[in-house]
Symmetry: C2
Subunit: 326 residues, 2 copies
Amino acid sequence: MLRPELHLPPAPLLIRAFVAASPPLSRLHCFGALRLDRARPPPLRGKPSSTLRASASDAAMARAPEMAQREVAQALEAEAVARLGPRLLPSAVPADVAEFRNGAGNAVGSLDVRRGAPGSSIDFMLQSSLHCKVPNGAIDITSILIFLNASTDAPHFLMELIQGSRTSIVVILDLLPRKDLALHPDYLQKYYENTQLDRQRGKIDELPQARPYLSPSLFVRSAISPTAISISIDCGQGGECNLEEIVRGQLATVAKEFLQIWLDSCADSTAEMEEAERECLLKRDQTVRSKSIEVDLTANLPRMFDPDVSSRVIAEIRKAFGVQEP
Amino acid sequence: MLRPELHLPPAPLLIRAFVAASPPLSRLHCFGALRLDRARPPPLRGKPSSTLRASASDAAMARAPEMAQREVAQALEAEAVARLGPRLLPSAVPADVAEFRNGAGNAVGSLDVRRGAPGSSIDFMLQSSLHCKVPNGAIDITSILIFLNASTDAPHFLMELIQGSRTSIVVILDLLPRKDLALHPDYLQKYYENTQLDRQRGKIDELPQARPYLSPSLFVRSAISPTAISISIDCGQGGECNLEEIVRGQLATVAKEFLQIWLDSCADSTAEMEEAERECLLKRDQTVRSKSIEVDLTANLPRMFDPDVSSRVIAEIRKAFGVQEP
């Protein structure tokens, strides 16, 4: 239902990002992205694959770099798959969406969606990755979303890692609320206070390299929870080693804790709801998903991928989200 | 309806606050406070006023210090009163709540509540101030709240300034939303995007002395808007002059802009609402007000004032908020 946004920077920002390092990244809209690992060149509609192979930059894109952020995502995925087991159906994404690239050969991505098994509370698990070369480097985005259906009102799981240089990363990690927390203090207490999520948030917040990341989208700011980790970690020039260490260390630990809390408190939950309550939940889920796709994917994906590629990918995400084209 | 919280620091924090300066303040729960200016010793129930006069510390409290934060609040009050005119009824707070102090003479406060005139959209305007001596200094809190009734769904106005030393201040400034922003993107757009509030927030955020202030109360974090100013300004040791300048300068300017936007966009608005919508609004208002009083006033006021004084003050705030004792 709920599709986090991919807020890639508008084109001029994309270029500035790698001239001026972190400030433009700090203006990135999050969440949601497209996953990449070891992409094989998929057949692109309307373009012979020989065109792609002829491109030197494309050859360089045959594999996306191994990165700490991808290791973290893979570890979370493995944990979620192990715990959710048969509640996740096999992947059902067409090959040309599972892995895709743009004609210019400077961007590759992947998307995987596994629906929840009938009768389970899982709506879908979506993983996405994106690797996009820009003048002075590359942008790498990895996301994992596990969304629940209306058999429960428990929060969704969301992680997004957006790296615009070797020394800085934006992290969005949240149990995404599905109710108005100011109207439902019991819900706030159950999922956010009792689970001590804020203590986990604090572990990242206290890193000297961490600064709060405020999404430029007021909608994103409204949708995330009060215990969301929304920060940028900036190790400054020459801090490559430090950043990888932090991502593999403190960040990986806290991300696993968030997932663990979600698996323990949310993934198995069911909720008795009155009809009006369930309708409100469905409407909220739908609004957040639609709005996310609108302000994020449809605005940004076509900047990085050829129109036919971005359309295919967006259509697949809409299908997972259960959201129609407006 | 909606009563912002007064989150005075728990007793040990109050003491630490003035030994170790800003860190404990950064843990203060906000919002809501009690106003003080030039308090005259009011008659305290059950205590002869001679007892108070006999206290040396009490004599020292005859006047609270003039401070930049009080000037800012007074200027906002004057602007609001000028614009709202006859829509505000005269103050109706008993004398022993309008100004009050504790028996030990180390804390004085004042509270003023003006109800909205019948037929107007104003529910009440509440101003409060508190001055409390602590071992190494004093804590000063000034608040202005202007709350609307259910003839409109427009946001309330809220400002709270909490100063724990001469060099640092916590600022909460917001148009407090009355709807679930993730469910109502149109509301978000109308009151928060179209009004360019985030640009005002940015003016304070970019001050080199400003750091985000994250309330320890998840409820407060959930209740404020995505454009809320929630920061601490810390001028460090010896930075007295700077802080007063910032409060009288950039902070005063932005606070006036917030009030102006509220006066222009919210104070006169009315909203056609279906019965179910109005019920939801009323329930939300009520929940936020009750929760605020619970986690704030009833927990904290008795730490600073004698029980009879805090009871009187809390009762008056409950009355303004339209919230019953639980």
